[in-house]
């Protein structure tokens, strides 16, 4: 569970979520990310460290740079769960939509009287 715990913590930060979204479009180097987010290199690097230890990204070594890419399986475990949450809520909410339509109509009738 330790890695899962880290994945939640890692994704609870808006900048790190932003990095994940950026990496979903493809591999990026630290300097790409520094430019993209207008943050300092040490800040980006520390976020990447958190994402890497959570198993959400991997980094390979190419000469001097270490491009980052998503580890989709790890991210998928979290997003699958969130999707499940959404589905359950949405099932209830669709019935709430129908109920609210009915309540609005009842109010309209009330007003006409």
């Amino acid at each position: 569970m330790a890695q899962l715990d880290q994945a939640f913590a890692a994704l609870a930060d808006p900048t790190r979520r932003g990095i994940v979204v950026r990496l979903a479009r493809g591999e990026a180097s630290v300097s790409d990310l520094v430019g993209h987010f207008s943050l300092t290199q040490p800040t980006i690097s520390s976020h990447l460290k958190v994402l890497e230890s959570a198993g959400l990204i991997s980094r390979r070594r190419v000469a001097q740079s270490r491009p980052c890419k998503l580890v989709p399986e790890r991210l998928k475990a979290v997003t699958d769960w969130l999707e499940q949450v959404q589905e359950i809520f949405e099932g209830n909410y669709k019935r709430l939509d129908a109920l609210l339509t009915e309540l609005k109509q009842a109010e309209k009738k009330e007003r006409k009287r």
Partner: protein
């Protein structure tokens, strides 16, 4: 309206957002009045809601129970209201009572915060589930559930899948 959207605001919380095409006072009633509440939250196909008691004042308690049409199995939630701001916010605790389903969801109550905000006749509702601990959140995650509701719906889906 766009479908519900779930996200992770912190490492022990899950946030669900949804908008409704209705003024906040109607949405509020649907959440606070037992007769209305059971019509949407208690109307999952294949389940009835034999108990829907709600005293939604600060310090008031609620008790919800669902029963499977298929095999009569029951589960429920109980909790206490911590905070109420008319047409704006309700905060309550939530304990899952697995009933006959025999699944554990961790011991400590979760804290559920629901906020309501109306703009031009559209009401935005946010629901935050805060787990008592990371262990409780992990238990929910491991079983693929945010709360006990999914346990039963999952079991239900299993039952329907077999038919």
């Amino acid at each position: 309206m766009k479908p519900a959207e779930a996200s992770l605001p912190s490492d022990t919380e899950v946030l669900v957002k949804r908008s409704f095409d209705a003024p906040v006072k109607l949405v509020w009633r649907a959440y606070m009045e037992p007769d209305l509440f059971r019509r949407w939250c208690g109307a999952h196909p294949g389940w009835s809601m034999p108990v829907c008691e709600m005293d939604m004042r600060v310090g008031g308690k609620y008790c919800w129970r669902w029963r499977s049409d298929e095999n009569g199995q029951e589960f429920g939630f109980t909790g206490e209201v911590l905070e109420v701001a008319l047409h704006a916010k309700i905060v309550h605790t939530q304990i899952f009572d697995a009933g006959d389903l025999g699944v554990s969801m961790g011991g400590e109550p979760s804290i559920i915060t629901v906020t309501f905000q109306e703009t031009n006749g559209i009401t935005n509702v946010t629901t935050t589930i805060r787990y008592a601990s990371k262990a409780d959140r992990d238990a929910a995650f491991a079983t693929g559930m945010t709360d006990g509701m999914e346990v039963s719906y999952k079991l239900l889906d299993g039952v329907l899948g077999e038919m």
